[in-house]
């Protein structure tokens, strides 16, 4: 780290013996002794007052970047602004103060939220059923693959063990497939950034579980032959899994169900404007076509009784051949309230405009930057595009240097080094919530950095200069991994 680094002490360093944040009142019941066998003799936790802890974490929060501070074009993550009305709704006592073990008749409003969200998500992606259980995107992927496996097994089709993943897919797709015990075969892209159809067809045989496809893909490009791709997989008896992480580009315009997909997961924390980037929590609902509805994880909210006077009664139901629970209780309920709020705030027209503006913003940046940065698959993109962070006449400058330098302008760096099919990748996703003024400021910064790369590369190599922490030595951090203060050599 650079010499200007501000060092925030750790809580263990701020600790002072006997200091405490809470003084409990004297017990008004007899004390019960903890059995000797369960007691430990030392517990080296820091001892601090409440104000010590609050100041520590508040100072740390000032070192952080957030979408509420400035532009956050982290490709594939859809770091859009999250309207504060979502937070208001999630904090309503009827949502915030309920317990998951409460009887169903006492939480009908909460169940209605889940029911409406299920219905809206089904309509948005054109699928027959949805489960809100999965905790985040990759969890949704794993759930989707387990559903595909259960479907084949239920038909006695047990030799299928292969999942195809294009090289432009999200990096979690092969991991989710491998985790469910499947064999992963990577399919290359063609020179327009589409999946290579011939290579795909060559792998479509009777061992195929399915294809995991991200559409638009991680190049920000819509698969131009999507119907042929889906047909090839279906002809071989396989299923098509859609990674809906890039749904922001398609809202109200195209639906996975209409493209023939069998399973998709959605990222409420990306497309539907719930907070992420600071640990979430996320939410990755899985939606399926009619023939997979019975396999969904549960419970799912259904209308269990319809009364003309009192309206519907909602209940929690387990699908008939469910793969089981994938999450304790009902998934991340607070995230669902925020996502439903977002959907209702915008309405159908508004959601469509989200996609239109997201695509417009991405193409505006792409065209503004295409003469300065090489864009290998340079065609009309969807919500994001991928540029190369390198120039022949600036040897030694890498995507990482450009990204670190962007921090000096107050911007979060784009996604680096992914997808792997672009050299020194800079994956840029502006989202719909950014104004032209913000986009223009970003373009100006990117152009200045491109000039600096030729004229003064040192300023890039040493960046960032204006942040509380300078350039972190990622290599040293990875090679000499120290995860706790107690293992730090200086502590002895």
């Amino acid at each position: 780290m650079s010499e200007t680094t501000i060092r925030e002490p750790l809580l263990v360093e701020l600790s002072s013996p006997g200091r405490r944040g809470v003084r409990f009142p004297e017990a008004d019941v007899p004390a019960a002794a903890v059995p000797e066998a369960l007691r430990r003799t030392s517990l080296p936790l820091p001892e601090l007052s409440e104000v010590d802890v609050v100041r520590h974490y508040t100072r740390l929060s000032h070192f952080n970047h957030a979408v509420d501070i400035d532009f956050y074009p982290l490709g594939s993550c859809t770091m859009k602004y999250n309207p504060k009305v979502n937070e208001d709704m999630a904090r309503l006592p009827g949502f915030a103060h309920i317990h998951p073990l409460q009887p169903e008749e006492t939480v009908q409003g909460a169940l209605a939220v889940m029911y409406y969200l299920q219905e809206y998500l089904k309509e948005i992606v054109g699928m027959a059923g949805v489960s809100l259980q999965p905790a985040a995107g990759a969890h949704g992927e794993l759930t989707g693959v387990l559903i595909m496996r259960a479907y084949h097994r239920s038909r006695g089709d047990t030799k299928r063990n292969k999942i195809l993943v294009p090289d432009s897919a999200h990096g979690t797709n092969p991991a989710s497939s491998a985790m469910s015990g499947m064999r992963v075969v990577e399919i290359p892209s063609d020179d327009r950034g589409n999946i290579d159809l011939a290579k795909l067809k060559a792998e479509c045989d009777d061992t195929l579980v399915g294809l995991m496809i991200t559409n638009p893909n991680t190049l920000g490009l819509f698969e131009e032959h999507i119907e042929e791709v889906v047909q090839a997989v279906h002809d071989a008896g396989g299923l098509v899994y859609g990674d809906g992480a890039n749904l922001n580009a398609l809202l109200g315009i195209a639906r996975f169900g209409d493209m023939g997909f069998d399973v998709v997961h959605l990222n409420l924390h990306k497309t539907f404007s719930t907070p992420h980037g600071g640990g979430g929590p996320g939410s990755g609902p899985v939606a399926v076509a009619q023939h997979l509805v019975d396999f969904l994880p549960g419970p799912i909210v259904e209308v269990v009784d319809e009364d003309e006077e009192n309206g519907p009664t909602y209940g929690l139901v387990m699908p008939r051949h469910s793969i089981g629970r994938v999450k304790a209780f009902y998934g991340h309920f607070g995230v669902m309230v925020r996502a439903l709020t977002y959907i209702l705030s915008l309405g159908g027209e508004g959601l469509r405009q989200v996609a239109e503006d997201a695509v417009l913003n991405a193409n505006y940046l792409r065209v503004q930057l295409q003469d300065t940065y090489h864009i290998p698959y340079n065609r009309l993109c969807k919500h994001e595009f991928v540029a190369e962070g390198r120039w022949e006449d600036a040897p030694g400058v890498r995507a990482l240097d450009i990204s670190k330098r962007l921090m000096d302008f107050g911007f979060h760096p784009p996604t680096n080094y992914f997808p792997l099919i672009v050299h020194e990748a800079l994956m840029i996703e502006p989202t719909e919530t950014e104004s032209k003024r913000t986009l223009d400021a970003f373009v100006a910064a990117m152009k200045q950095i491109a000039r600096e790369a030729r004229e003064n590369p040192e300023v890039l190599h040493e960046a960032p200069h204006t942040t509380p922490f300078g350039r972190v030595d990622e290599v040293k951090a990875a090679r000499e991994l120290v995860l706790t203060w107690f293992d730090w050599p200086q502590q002895g």
Partner: protein, 130 residues
Amino acid sequence: MSWKVAPHLKYTKNDEWINPEDGTVGITDYAQAQLSDVVYVEITVSEGDEVQQGDIVATVESVKAAADVYAPVSGTVVAINEDLADTPEVVNSDPYGEAWMVRLQIADPAELDGLMDADAYQKYCEEREA
């Protein structure tokens, strides 16, 4: 970008090299430059294992990416380089020497004929840079 190609080795499309003389296997200078600083190497096979051409024998992790290393030919693993666990940086500094990963007793020398020689591999790298 520049990279070195060793004349006496054979190469795969996945950027592994194999020494036809002693059966040692590693990743190429081009591959290590693409990966950037390597922070972790795990050899995933043990001495005595039989591997088929294309089986995973190691995984390499850098600050940028993780990559599998595949057996260039079929054979029996006769040695693994245990030092790499503590010194992954030699993959960057000496990819064709100290950073050998496994040594294979080559089952079928004819499989070597399907690999690229140094000239062909050099061209293959140049094409990808274009």
